[in-house]
Amino acid sequence: MKIAVASGKGGTGKTTVAVNLCLFLVDAGLQVTYADCDVEEPDGHLFLKPEIVTRRRTGIPVPHVDPEACNLCGECGSLCRYSAIVVLKDRVMTFPELCHGCGGCAYICPARAIAEVDRPIGSIDRGNAGKLGFISGCLDIGQAMSPPLIKEVLKETPDDGVTIVDAPPGTSCPAMTAVGDCDYLLLVTEPTPFGRHDLELMLKAVCSLPMPKGVVMNRVNGPDAATEELCDKYGVPVLARIPEDRLVAEAYSKGLTAWEAVSGYRTVFADLWSGIQKDAGRCGE
């Protein structure tokens, strides 16, 4: 089972929830993997402090044109929607940083003059934090395209056990890439006007996705009717309300998990887990 943890904006405590949920599940005896798909800002390792066993570079395939074989027919240039390959009178130019790696140019080239070479965009770490499996993608600085790297991270997640996917914040393509194929989607929000506004964007973005969803309200300072109403309107249950706690904030700032800092967290995450199971089960019926 893959559970994605996402949020409409950054800083809502998405990673805190993902990490603590992992720790709870490991403690409950399950086989768990944490997959950090927030590849632009991967932070999970700061809290889980995993031992990294392997690191591999990953990239996207971009065209490499053999000038001897190329007959300047121009087919590749007219196919490419990203202007990553243009054909001039006497040569072909490529702009690898614009290429989305569709492979179209290489496929259609009548002269078979285009080969594909990997352009590295980031790396993927694998390891363990105690019994917890750990996978994390990290985009190279200056690279613009994160979805291909996110897909590579997801490919490495195991099929059995529970995988917690820490998704990038926001509602655009990277976030949707990370959550698209998960079995359950957990949305983390906080009770501020910005938080609520971004939660609504998120709820709109995911309403057409088939998997069951739940909301975690983080840093709650007493009842927040507006957020509850919003979730109601979209038919998404609120599974947990995590109180604002100075101890947690301090622990977080030092790189400790709430789990380590505050004993009461066990019940919060136990409730959250049973909420997820109930919902996930309902969808399977």
């Binding site: 929607r81 202007s83 990553a84 243009v86 009178k89």
Partner: protein
């Protein structure tokens, strides 16, 4: 010599378009005969990305030796350079004025991109 000028309109009295990739028209002038021809850049105006590259390849196909425009980004510059086209930067003015300034040798030749690229 054939010269391309980025233009907001279709004739010699139109204003120079300072944008290269998303210029409305390219006007090609023959400096000897004074003949003009107009080329629409409409499909590039709304290009998803790489308007500069596409405009560069369009201009390369117009068989010109020089281009007069306002700003050129790094990718368009690379294409124009590969096509052997010299780039001259003109201040605001009409197509006819820019052409005259060019003939009088008053325009500065650009030896590198003069604006940031759009990283999309």
């Amino acid at each position: 010599m054939r010269v391309a000028i980025t233009s907001q309109g279709r004739d010699r009295d139109s204003l120079l378009d300072r944008r290269f990739g998303r210029a409305a028209f390219f006007i090609v002038a023959d400096t000897e005969t004074g003949e003009l021809s107009v080329h629409d850049n409409a499909q590039n105006l709304n290009a998803a990305q790489g308007a500069g590259i596409q405009a560069g390849s369009t201009v390369a196909g117009l068989d010109v030796e020089a281009l007069i425009t306002g700003n050129v980004g790094p990718k368009a510059y690379a294409v124009l350079k590969a096509a052997g086209i010299r780039i001259y930067l003109a201040p605001d003015g009409t197509v006819a004025q820019s052409l005259q300034r060019f003939k009088d040798g008053l325009l500065e030749e650009s030896l590198s991109a003069n604006v940031e690229g759009h990283w999309v």
